[in-house]
């Protein structure tokens, strides 16, 4: 086990100990390996830089010794799939998956495994910086390391100026909220790289939490087809907010590319002001006709292709006009009641409701006041337009959480 900064600039010797040059950099092949193998060294001799294959390496720790006295002096050139540890990894940013944060590499840990050398981790401790800053002789005096296992980090392919195939599988382990925080903290280009690697559903969940400005930039920067697909996966309210921050022309193009059904949902929400109940409401809810029984209601829910999440209640609507709300049956009641009971017998009537133009805050206050999990949004003719859930309302009541995320405008 040794560290990159302890071997760079160290001498490279031939078989008999004759000087060949100094270690300029260490080449690593990125691929499917958990711990990427070292494929060679960039060796510097005066002004020349040449490649030495790892097959010739007999020893790397301390100083490098080769198994041959003659080396091919072909000048070093960068190749696809290869990363230079000193140029492209040391001092660069990585994502620490377990720590859910962005870290900077202060040193790289290498080790010999089965006759070859591999990268096994990165040191992110401030002590590593001190060791590098001070004279080499004093470096040993500074104790303390903070190693992150290489299997636990995400390397960003855009960091190196070559074509790289990097696996982004591990990103999926992060919660969308943590991903969003990372996406916000990275530069635009790096964040676009991350979002591009996510599947549409995760990307949608992540982008719902990303700051408004970054979200608009990301959507405008990506392929329109994909942007439309991601918008479809987003909650209609969040998608509407996102589209409103975009250039009008782009927003219309994206809406046109979305599935007509999802686009219509989003367009309906766009009719209402930002910060209105109509904007934050969910149009995804279960409605049953008033002649339904509890058992039929439950069967209906089970038969749905996509069941609303969260599912809090079913809404009972009038037989002659399925738009008009009669009342609601809580999920709890639905499960506890006898399947043969008509829903009209167990439904709650005279519930508080809000209008679509009401301020979102007043919807939140009604939820809090009446201890509800959701409040229906009705127009003047008591037509059910949507519901505002506690989740939606929380975002209104605690706006500072959302604002605080945007604190990185002057970095």
């Amino acid at each position: 086990m040794f560290f990159l900064t302890s071997i760079v600039d160290r001498p490279v010797e031939g078989k008999a100990g004759e000087p060949i040059g100094r270690i300029e950099d260490v080449i690593v092949r990125m691929g499917d390996d958990r711990y990427p193998p070292i494929s060679g060294l960039v060796v510097r001799d005066r002004r020349r830089r040449f490649f030495v294959s790892s097959h010739l390496l007999q020893k790397l720790n301390g100083s490098a010794r080769l198994s041959s006295s003659t080396v091919d002096l072909q000048p070093f050139a960068r190749r696809a799939g290869e990363v230079l540890l000193r140029r492209d990894v040391l001092d660069h940013q990585l994502i620490d998956i377990t720590g859910r944060r962005i870290v900077r590499v202060n040193d790289v840990q290498l080790t010999e495994i089965e006759g070859g050398y591999r990268v096994v981790g990165v040191d992110i401790s401030p002590q590593a910086l001190l060791r590098r800053l001070g004279p080499r002789a004093l470096a040993g005096r500074v104790a303390g390391r903070q190693i992150v296992d290489w299997a636990d980090v995400q390397y960003l392919a855009s960091t190196a100026p070559v074509q790289l195939k990097v696996s982004y599988d591990r990103l999926a382990e992060l919660h969308p909220v943590d991903l969003a925080r990372i996406v916000d903290a990275l530069s635009y280009r790096e964040s676009a790289e991350i979002v591009a690697a996510l599947d549409e559903e995760t990307a949608a969940e992540t982008l719902e939490e990303v700051s408004d400005e970054r979200l608009a930039d990301l959507l405008e920067g990506m392929d329109q087809e994909r942007a439309a697909d991601i918008l479809e996966e987003m909650a209609p309210g969040a998608a509407a907010d996102a589209l409103e921050d975009l250039d009008e022309e782009v927003a219309e193009q994206l809406l046109a590319r979305m599935e007509p059904e999802e686009a219509a949902d989003v367009q309906a929400l766009l009719e209402y002001d930002e910060d209105s109940a109509g904007r934050i409401m969910t149009t995804d809810f279960v409605r049953v006709l008033e002649n339904t029984t509890v058992g039929e209601g439950l069967a209906l829910i089970r038969s749905l292709e996509e069941v609303p999440d969260p599912l809090l209640a079913v809404y009972v609507v009038a037989l002659e006009d399925p738009g008009t709300l009669r009342g609601l049956v809580r999920l709890r009641t639905l499960i506890l009641s006898d399947p043969a009971t008509p829903v009209t017998e167990v439904m709650d009537e005279d519930l508080p409701s809000v209008g679509p133009e009401d301020r979102a805050e007043s919807a939140a206050h009604i939820l809090a006041e009446y201890n509800l999990l959701a409040v229906p949004v009705l127009d003047e003719e008591r037509h059910l337009l949507g519901i505002v859930t506690v989740d939606d309302a929380l975002a209104v009541l605690l706006p500072e959480i959302w604002q605080r995320r945007g604190g990185r405008t002057f970095a």
Partner: protein
Amino acid sequence: MRKRLWPYLLALGPGLLAASAGNDAGGIATYASAGASYGYELLWALVLVSIFVYVVQEMSTRLGAVTGKGFSDLVRETFTLRQTTLILLTLLIANVGIIVSEFIGIAAASELFGVSRYIAVPLAAVFVWVLVTRGSYGWVERIFLVLSLVFFAYIGAAFLAKPNWGAVAVGTFQPHLRMDAGYFSLLIALIGTTISPYMQLYAQSSVVEKGVTVEDYRYTRFDVIVGTVFSGAVAVFILIATAATLFPKGIRVDTAAAAARALEPIAGHYSGVLFALGLLGASLLAAGVLPLATTYMLSEALGFERGVSRSWAEAPIFMGTFTGLIVLGAAIALIPGLPLIQVLVGVYVLNGLLLPVELFAILRLVNDPEIMGNQVNGKLYNLIAWGIALVVSALSLALIVMTVVGWFK
């Protein structure tokens, strides 16, 4: 036509704001001192420095657009650790100086209102800290920005003061060098305040934040031009206003009240209040933004957990540095008997002295084909850019030599 114009107008922002930020407490003090002490003599320097500003800002924003990375990121990833430390250290010192100057601006403004600075400065420090950490800085920032627009009154004041336009023209087009340390330090302060490092950091990071690409970089360049012309004009008119009103009477700008007097032609008795409002707005604006920017710069380069929404436990170094910078700035501004205006100018002399380090770092980055591809400086442009770096270095060196020689006289 409309279609071609819009993107340019939409791009206005970072460059404009960054350049206007140069006209803060220290900037006003420097321009006013220059006008009051040397009349129109330093006008040519101001025009020249504006060109410098454009070149440096343009390189910074281009770095941001091509790499998609902030300055401290690039420095850490390109230079050796020791060089990085040197560059960040000079930036840190320069920024601490400016933070101090902003609190001095707050002190000076409050004293114009008749409020003791021992009350105003600690209050302002707490106010700014709370605003930034609570994340509600955005809208307050706009209020401060509007307040600082007061300095546009200097343009009116300059015209109403009926300056000798012939002398203005001579001062503008005829370079004039005096071989005394006072003149030299003002010259360097002019450079230091107009090209302060943090403006480059800011302009570059906002270009990165906005995700500007090489393809639409020309709009950003337009923004930089407009910003430079705009802030240059304000600076020129402050100098003309003070040169026309204070210089003939032999009034030196030693206090904020003296600088405010140059506004008398336009504001009469209200000149003091007007000046104090502008000063307060400009200083509070920068007093919040600078400590935050400096902390981000250090945390990003060193890889500390960062963000004002983090708690002390999550990001102790980030929060500690941010708080420390505000406390330090406020504490220095409260030292009893501190000659405020001289310290303001002094801070920018320091800034000018440290500037070469940053300039050479930018030049090294912007000319690296591995970083910039084909967007490296052109030959002629590079000549101008290097010329600027060398001129600034030579002036800094000259000032140091003159100061040292002065000690032995």
